[in-house]
């Protein structure tokens, strides 16, 4: 049994680790060729996930967090998308150079994914049972009856009451929370080593969200799965993440363990995000806001992409793209003034 604390310790200074990462995204670059020009959606994304670890990828709309996940899964629409550089290594093997047949074998068994909107991710014309059984029969070669029994077990595992009856129902007969559970069951069918959850609770009510996050955490700990949790919700991240990667304009601007990131953010964007949050425990007057808007990916600002909205931007920020500055404990921040920011400056 690996505890959460242990996995935090796991992620010390990079390079000092005996265990290789399960998944490694290295300098990933993706463009979308649109009518209006080339949108640079990912501009060198780096992150790593180890077995049993939860990495939260935090960012606002258009920051590239979902596109990264789609590139890992190999489900980007190409064209308009094009992967122009970088690598996605799973057990050290670059998925981007594998033949489609090999990649398909990794999908589901190696890496599985669940989506935000379960209603559109599930096929409305097949029963929930059929959709879970399909992969068991095709991929594992199970017979009808075996597949059905296994699917019922899976629904039971994600705590859907009455699984033997529910399995014959269609997605529209499920509530929102049930559908999300069914999708989790489906993603677990081939016992993946790694799960990518793209905003899994964003469409759900807060009491149901709590149920689903509990379920995910439990299943992950039990199976020692690597989990990438893509979200914009700073509350959800604080409750489950071991490490956090903050994305802005197609870059990772900060990586840190959860406790450090909230205690002393190392990038002005992270700091400003935390300050702009309304809090449940206080009635505030005026919220600190981040001025302006996220940049258009067709026309990313020079230097640091955050500089037009940054409180402490100086000349160097407009001219030079900041490199990742190491802040100890495996933390990095892509800011020219990272050391000062993390010190509270």
């Amino acid at each position: 049994m690996v505890t959460r604390t242990a996995s935090v310790v796991d992620t010390g200074e990079p390079g000092a680790l005996p265990s290789a990462p399960l998944l490694e995204v290295a300098d990933l670059q993706v463009e979308f060729r649109t009518h209006d020009g080339v949108a640079k959606v990912l501009n060198g994304v780096n992150y790593q996930v180890r077995a049993g670890e939860t990495l939260a990828v935090l960012g606002e709309s258009g920051s590239g967090k979902s596109v990264t996940a789609q590139a890992i899964m190999g489900i980007l629409d190409v064209p308009p998308a094009a992967i122009t550089g970088g690598a996605v290594r799973f057990h050290g093997e670059d998925l981007l150079t594998l033949p489609e047949e090999r990649r398909r074998a990794i999908r589901g068994e190696g890496i599985a994914m669940i989506f935000q909107d379960a209603l559109s991710a599930l096929n409305p014309v097949f029963t929930v049972g059929f959709q879970i059984e399909e992969q068991l029969r095709v991929r594992l070669g199970l017979g009808r009856r075996e597949a059905r029994n296994r699917a019922i077990e899976l629904l039971d595992l994600v705590r859907i009451p009455n699984p033997a009856r529910r399995i014959r129902q269609y997605p529209h007969e499920f509530s929102g929370g049930m559908r999300q559970r069914a999708m989790i069951a489906m993603s677990l069918a081939l016992d993946p080593e790694m799960l990518i959850a793209d905003e899994p609770t964003t469409a759900l009510d807060v009491t149901v969200q709590a149920q689903i996050m509990d379920l995910l955490a439990e299943i992950q700990a039990e199976r020692r799965m690597g989990l990438i949790l893509i979200t914009h919700d700073l509350g959800v991240v604080a409750e489950v993440a071991d490490r956090i990667s903050v994305m802005y304009a197609g870059r990772i601007v900060e990586q840190a363990d959860a406790a450090s990131l909230y205690r002393s953010p190392g990038h002005p964007y992270t700091a400003a995000l935390l300050e702009s949050l309304p809090r449940l425990d206080q009635r505030g007057q005026t919220l600190n806001t981040i001025k302006g808007l996220p940049p258009s990916l067709l026309n990313i600002p020079s230097g640091c992409p955050f500089h037009p909205r940054c409180r402490r931007a100086e000349d160097v920020c407009r001219s030079e793209v900041p490199r990742d500055v190491r802040l100890g404990l495996g933390r990095t921040s892509a800011c020219h003034f990272a050391e000062e920011v993390v010190a509270g400056g």
Binding site: G177, E239, R279
Partner: protein
């Protein structure tokens, strides 16, 4: 923060408001097989300059409440009075005057603006219907002023909605709501479609406008942190009913109703040091169907305190033991916010 003190007579008084939607089946010979009890016996008061937050999960009836108060849907029964006059009986000129005084800001800034109209036409449209507010010659100038008030560039008056970001579109919707200088604005999830950094900008704007124009808000949202930030008083809804109502401090610091407590405890707190230390009340199952709500207390099927009386007798929304009104037979204060 100063203690909340209600000032003056209520500007809006809602009493025993009920809205049921019929459930019909059949193709040629439709017949009604039941009713969705979207809003069931809701009463509250809104005072001038006050913000009443309305929170609850999907299907609790909070948006139906907004539509009925806007007179977009007729109520099944009950009444609502604006400055003492019953709004559901108003007709003609009196109704038009009412519409000037109660406006709405909608959730989705992408679908609530007509993509074929310019910003100037969208924000100026209320003046077409209420020409007495602004004579034709001064309308453009008025629209520019409104854009300026909500923090948009008045030069962008000829642009179309698609040329704006989500946050800017929501500002356009707010400018439209402000055009007729209403006294009450009903905000139906005004920030839930926005990113965190933009959400804060729009919340600040709503706060500033309230001070500047003395607006009263009915602020409907599912995000409890957002509601706390802006509200003086808060009503918690569950399956068409208000289960608890009180000042922002009473609801968040001293919640009495088990549902309020569960809802508050389920909100993830952005502080990893509290992980595992917070007491979180996990509710089982889903919200029951509003077509066939449980007998007695509607929350009893998910409540850990449920006893026989809860199935037989519907709890009244009254103060028990000195606290704010809560509709629970076993109401008891329990602090859940860290």
């Amino acid at each position: 923060m100063a203690e909340y003190s209600p000032a003056g007579d209520p500007i809006l008084t809602v009493s025993n408001l009920v809205k049921h939607f019929p459930v019909r089946v059949g193709v040629l010979f439709k017949h009604t097989i039941g009713y969705v009890r979207a809003v069931d016996d809701v009463s509250f008061e809104l005072r001038p300059g006050e913000t009443l937050g309305v929170v609850g999960e999907s299907g609790c009836g909070k948006s139906t409440l907004a539509q009925v108060l806007m007179r977009l849907e007729p109520p099944t029964s009950g009444s609502a009075a604006f400055e003492g006059r019953e709004i559901f009986r108003m007709r003609g000129a009196e109704l038009r005057r009412l519409r000037r005084n109660i406006q709405i800001v909608l959730q989705d800034p992408y679908t609530s603006l007509n993509p074929r109209m310019t910003v100037g036409d969208i924000v100026g449209e209320p003046f077409e219907i209420h020409p007495e507010v602004a004579p034709k010659a001064s309308r453009r100038e008025k629209v520019r002023e409104l854009l300026d008030v909500v923090g948009l560039n008045p030069e962008h008056i000829h642009r179309y909605p698609h040329q704006f970001s989500g946050g800017q579109r929501q500002r356009i919707g707010i400018a439209r709501a402000l055009a007729l200088r209403p006294k009450v604005i009903i905000c139906d999830e005004p920030v839930s479609a926005l990113d965190v950094s933009i959400q804060a900008q729009v919340m600040n704007l709503l706060g500033e406008l309230q001070g500047e124009f003395g607006l009263s808000y009915v602020f409907i949202a599912h995000d409890l942190s957002v509601v706390r930030h802006l509200s003086d008083r808060v009503a918690v809804m569950y399956l068409g009913k208000i289960v608890e109502i009180g000042t922002e401090e009473q609801i968040y610091e001293h919640p009495m109703h088990p549902y309020t407590q569960a809802l508050l405890s389920a909100v993830p707190v952005p502080d990893p040091t509290l992980r595992g230390l917070r007491q979180v009340i996990r509710l089982e199952g889903d919200v029951p169907s509003p077509v066939n709500p449980p007998s007695g207390c509607r929350f009893r099927t998910r409540c850990w305190k449920a006893a026989e009386i809860c199935a037989n007798e519907e709890p009244a929304l009254v103060s028990r033991g000195g606290g704010q009104p809560s509709a629970c037979h076993f109401a008891e204060e329990r602090s859940v916010v860290p």
